[in-house]
Amino acid sequence: MTQTLRDSMHLVSDPDHLDESVREVFETLFGAQCRGDADVDANDTHEPEMSVTAVVGFGGILSGACVFRCDALAARQIAARMAGMDFDTVDDIVKDAIGEICNMLAGTWKGKVPGLAANCGLSVPAVITGSDYDLHVQAPEFRICQAFRFENTRFEMTIVCDGLQ
């Protein structure tokens, strides 16, 4: 009998994969650890202030998205570490950097789920900035949302799946 991804739902939706992916990406990129922040509400998708959200779509045997969300200050600080320069505003380079972080997190996460790496493609990142928007997915199969702290910044990572084979 052929095993489907749906049969391994407990593996696909295991929050530990996301946690390990975030720690691995930040440690490799910056040589520094980030730590989990328990203060997160997976159902709270409303943006209370200026924020930067990067989205990388999944397509194939799993469809959905990897979402990286932080405030403007965190985006500028993370981009500064990546680009080796300081930023006064959330300009195109900052958006590019946050999109790339999301891309690396999406790729690392799907590489940790058995059977997903080769059968699930990634879109190029899209980056949204603003102060009053919601992220809404109609009836997701599952959603994993975790918050992290890196140096003095805080960010949230979400994996949302709206289709699974």
Binding site: D96, E100, A117
Partner: protein
């Protein structure tokens, strides 16, 4: 090692900078870098510039990295130049596709300067 001329192809300008910085940290301090934001731009640069090394992302709009490498071979541009793919896609299938397209190496994002050193420098031993 004499000056190395590298073409870095990635739609992210930040990633191009990170790749350049990693190459320098890996020991290629006297590096000359050409940057392209897509496979199409990369092909254009190679029509007028000679390089010793090409590093390319795979997942890019307009022309992805695999098609870029295929076109390099088809158009006989930089025929002897080693190409290393740098990408978030890391499955065996993706590595196989990259090698079949003509890449000589593969580095998964994110990466360290040590990984770049281990996988890129051996390809430059004949430069």
């Amino acid at each position: 090692m004499s000056d190395v001329r590298a073409l870095i192809v990635d739609d992210s300008s930040v990633m191009r900078k990170i790749v350049e910085r990693s190459l320098r940290q890996a020991g290629l301090e006297s590096l000359v870098v050409f940057e392209a934001g897509s496979g199409i731009e990369g092909l254009e640069i190679l029509k007028s510039k000679e390089v010793d090394l090409i590093l390319s992302d795979i997942n890019m709009p307009s022309m992805d990295g695999l098609e870029f490498v295929r076109q390099l071979r088809l158009q006989q541009l930089a025929a002897e130049v080693p190409v290393v793919m740098i990408t978030t896609e890391s499955s065996e299938e993706h590595v196989k596709q990259a090698i079949q397209a003509g890449a000589k190496g593969y580095i998964r994002k994110p990466f360290t300067a040590d990984q770049v050193k281990q996988r890129v420098l051996p390809l430059l031993s004949t430069v």
